[in-house]
Amino acid sequence: MASDSIKLYALVYVALVGLATSKFVFFEFDQFFTYEQAFAGTMGAAALKGALIVGYYQHLKWENRSLTYLMAVALAFALLLMAAATYSIT
């Protein structure tokens, strides 16, 4: 059963806003970060944001684990398509 705690969801929201801001910071302050570092940091923040939204707002954290596996398979296929297709022209 998913949580009904507004406090918990508010904390997640604050974390999401912070992570979104971090992406912006990575690229705005390019004197501190190389493009590759900013890219990696942004993708890391995006992954964390996605995990927070799906885990807490979509309640996957409290659901049957099989749903997580289902979504993981879908994500894996999408990444496979992207990686293999892109690599094929390098």
């Binding site: 707002y57 309640h59 749903l67 999408a78 398509l81 293999a84 022209i89």
Partner: protein, 828 residues
């Protein structure tokens, strides 16, 4: 909800949502498309009677080749299998119906009406003429400019929408509605085969939907994905074949399931190595997504990827070998009865083996260089796809007594098989013998003329054989002997335990396999209070079935009729028909400002159809949402591995998994083209600040959606309404910022869908189309939120907050997509 009219009423077939009715509709409609596709095939064969014949003009020949392929693959083969799946999967697993009966009817009508759209495309200045693979850049308006070409692709997109609904429905049904005691491994093999099929469809057809949407964007809006010199044509190859190779097994697996059932029934023997066959089916399903570039060996993709997928392609034959040996050994150990269904199933095995062996050549890079683009490929895939599907005709004879209540004529059935088998091999084996004939070209070396003439005669024999079947079925239905419950000596599945045809509600008592064999449990109607500690708690290891309590079905009968699936599909068809001509109906005069931009309507017909269809879509969707249609989940059922997940929620997650692939394909396209162009040569087109603000807006809307759910659970009407209103306002804010940003880009910066003063034009295309698709998702979310808001205002969701939760799943998903799009288009 309306009552279900009798079968003699036309209205019955427009409103029915019962799985058996829908199964019959699928089967009959698929056979109609078999005739349509078959007539096109005969035209092709007539053209091949002599080199360079002119039975059809060049373009008409190309259209016939294209639509023959599309109709046979999409509108005949799969739907024919799905007709049986609709009818028999619920019966085989002990379910009352599919999980979402109205969605099932919607899938059928989308399929049927999309086929009509495909037919209409012929009368829109000519239909698509690219070949069924629709390769780029041949598929863009520069090379295939007719409205009918766009109409055909819209028909395909409509078909895929219906398929997606069907996929979600079957997955939810099989995982949520299995009779007590029926574990996954206990399921009949036809149902197993269908489960693997729909899992592959979930991911593969999402890729096809994405690639069709991108192509429609190119054709209707004028974007330039597939004409881009930065890998546009290769992009089509990857996206299409990521779908296309699993599609081979998607087409074949329903037939394989029929073969597995029929080999058991007519050898009187349980399948040898049953567990290993199931494992092999699962392996093939996964491997099918790991081989797609073997269709691209002749392109410029690198050798490493080609070599890797040559190895995986050879690898996929291994589990198939296991299945074939299992089938053969089952026969060896059994006592075969050569009935018509068995003959077709056995014939299918022989044809599929030949198709499989000849396919190994195409999986090897060096040999593929020789064979690709020749009739070897044509022969090979007909042996695989049509040869495999031969078993479906066996399925038609096998299940005809159950579906019609009448026995077919065995002699005519055997005559059909003999004529079919001779005709099949005459037309397709002659293609192997004349394999050096170039594919899709009707001019060829006269040395092959006798072989092609032999093939053409075979094609007519093959076509004739189906009329024997039609006559047999029609005659038997009218005057054949009544079929008993089980006309076969040895069967293993539950459909044979009920009358022929089965009653509307399928079962007299509740089917249960708890004792290890099929029993029908007679239970007095229980009350919700009784149920809480009673039967429901006993299933699935005591996992909470609290959602069951929300379905007060002890005082209601399940619904079987709704006009809205048909109405919604009709509205979609009208909308898509209108879209096919919209691009040619407007003349847009560009100017420095939006106010100065002029739009002239040169032909109002298509825009009117578009508008009527769109209004109809929204209206029918609202009526659908308001209809009192009752489809409760099974009270006691096996649900592994999704125990405790409510039915609609499970369906929603399956849909989201599919949408991951849709957006994944769009994002893959963006990354692919950027890498082809040179990753570092692109800078973001837009300022990052509007994107960041929109990120905050969407994140905040996700927060208000979750608050809406919390307040709904707390039965706070005010809290629910306030948060739904806030969500909608945030959604409108997001769209407003997005529109402002687009306006700024177009009129201040000069970046349009096809023009980019900063760099590659295709970068602008990718930006507008991808963020536009996301924007459409936001608009759909707002429409749903508006619907919920009106209902909440009238007091809904206080007792049952699940619709708010399901809406949230969708809205949060849209938010997650933006999490990726923001850096991709505003930062990188």
């Amino acid at each position: 909800m309306s009552e279900l009219p009798p079968k003699t009423s036309v209205r019955r077939w427009l409103v029915t949502t019962n799985h058996k009715d829908v199964g019959i509709l699928y089967t009959v409609t698929a056979l109609f498309f078999l005739i349509m596709g078959g007539m096109l095939a005969l035209l092709i064969r007539l053209q091949m009677w002599e080199p360079g014949a002119q039975v059809l003009s060049g373009i008409a020949y190309n259209e016939a080749v294209t639509t023959h392929g599309l109709i046979m693959v999409f509108w005949f083969l799969s739907p024919f299998g799905f007709g049986f799946a609709n009818y028999f999967v619920p019966l085989q697993i002990g379910a009352d119906d599919l999980a979402f009966p109205r969605l099932n009817a919607l899938s059928y009508w989308m399929f049927a009406l999309s086929g009509i759209l495909m037919g209409i495309s012929y009368f829109q200045g000519g239909t698509l003429s690219t070949g069924w693979t629709m390769y780029a850049p041949l598929n863009v308006p520069m090379y295939t400019p007719s409205l009918g070409s766009t109409g055909a692709i819209l028909a395909l997109a409509m078909f895929v929408i219906g398929i997606t609904a069907s996929t979600v429905n079957f997955l939810t049904t099989i995982h949520h509605s299995r009779a007590e005691g029926m574990g996954l491994m206990d399921m009949p093999l036809f149902t197993w085969s269908m489960l693997a099929t729909v899992y592959m469809m979930l991911f593969a057809f999402a890729a096809l939907l994405a690639v069709a949407l991108i192509l429609l964007s190119d054709r209707i809006l004028g974007s330039i994905y597939f004409s881009a010199t930065e890998g546009g044509a290769l992009l089509w190859g990857h996206l299409f074949w990521f779908f296309g190779h699993p599609e081979v097994y998607i087409v074949f697996f329903p037939a394989l399931g029929v073969m597995l059932e029929l080999f058991q029934s007519f050898s009187g023997n349980r399948l040898v190595g049953r567990k290993w066959v199931i494992i092999a089916i699962c392996l093939i399903s996964i491997q099918s997504f790991l081989v797609w570039t073997h269709h691209m060996f002749l392109t410029t993709i690198n050798l490493e990827v080609k070599t890797l997928m040559m190895a995986t392609s050879i690898g996929i034959s291994l589990p198939f070998d296991l299945v074939v040996f299992s089938l053969i050994y089952t026969l060896i150990k059994g006592r075969i009865r050569f009935t018509t269904p068995f003959l077709f199933a056995f014939g299918a095995l022989l044809l599929f083996i030949l198709g499989g062996i000849t396919g190994v050549f195409l999986g090897a890079i060096v040999l593929d260089y020789e064979f690709r683009g020749t009739y070897w490929v044509v022969a090979h895939f007909h042996y695989v796809m049509f040869g495999g599907a031969t078993a479906l005709f066996g399925g038609a004879y096998y299940w005809f007594p159950k579906m019609s209540g009448k026995m077919y004529d065995e002699f005519l059935g055997k005559v059909h098989f003999v004529v079919f088998f001779i005709g099949f091999n005459a037309v397709y084996f002659s293609m192997f013998l004349a394999w050096e004939t170039p594919r899709r070209v009707f001019d060829y070396d006269p040395a092959f003329q006798s072989m092609h003439r032999f093939g053409t005669i075979g094609a007519f024999v093959l076509g004739l054989s189906f009329f024997i079947m039609f006559y047999n079925f029609a005659k038997s239905y009218v005057s054949g002997p009544d079929a008993p419950d089980n006309p076969w000596e040895y069967t293993r599945t539950a459909e044979w335990a009920v009358p022929s045809p089965p009653p509307l509600e399928n079962w007299g008592g509740r089917p249960s396999y708890a004792s290890g064999k099929l029993e029908f449990v007679s239970e007095a109607l229980t009350t919700p209070d009784d149920d809480h500690d009673g039967p429901a708690a006993a299933t699935d290891g005591g996992h909470g079935e609290d959602h069951i309590e929300s379905y007060p079905y002890w005082d209601k009968h399940a619904s079987h009729a709704s006009i809205w699936p048909f109405a919604l599909s009709l509205a979609t068809g009208i909308f898509f028909f209108g879209l096919s001509g919209v691009a040619s109906s407007f003349d847009i005069t560009t100017a420095e400002t939006l106010a100065g931009t002029g739009i002239t309507v040169s032909n109002p017909v298509y825009p009117i159809f578009t508008a009527i269809g769109l209004v109809g879509l929204i209206w029918t969707a609202v009526k659908w949402g308001l209809e009192d249609f009752y489809a409760p989940p099974m009270e006691i059922a096996e649900r592994w591995p999704f125990e405790g997940v409510e039915k609609v929620k499970l369906g929603m997650w399956f849909f989201l998994a599919s949408d991951v692939i849709v957006f994944g394909a769009f994002i893959s396209a963006a990354v692919f083209i950027r890498v082809a162009a040179g990753w570092y040569t692109w800078e973001p087109l837009t300022d990052s600040l509007p994107g960041l603000i929109n990120t905050f807006v969407l994140l905040t809307s996700s927060f208000t959606v979750i608050l809406a759910l919390v307040y709904a659970r707390r039965k706070s009407r005010a809290g629910l309404i306030a948060n739904l209103v806030a969500t909608m306002l945030l959604g409108f804010t997001f769209l407003s910022i997005k529109l402002w940003e687009w306006h700024h880009e177009i009129y201040d910066v000069g970046v349009t869908l096809t023009q980019n003063s900063h760099g590659d034009p295709v970068q602008a295309t990718i930006y507008y189309v991808t963020t536009g698709l996301h924007g459409i998702h936001v608009v759909i979310g707002l429409l749903i939120a508006g619907f919920l808001l009106v209902r909440a205002w009238n007091g809904a969701y206080q007792e049952d907050s699940r619709p708010v939760e399901y809406f949230g799943l969708y809205w949060h998903f849209v938010d997650i997509v933006w999490v990726i799009l923001f850096p991709l288009f505003y930062l990188f």
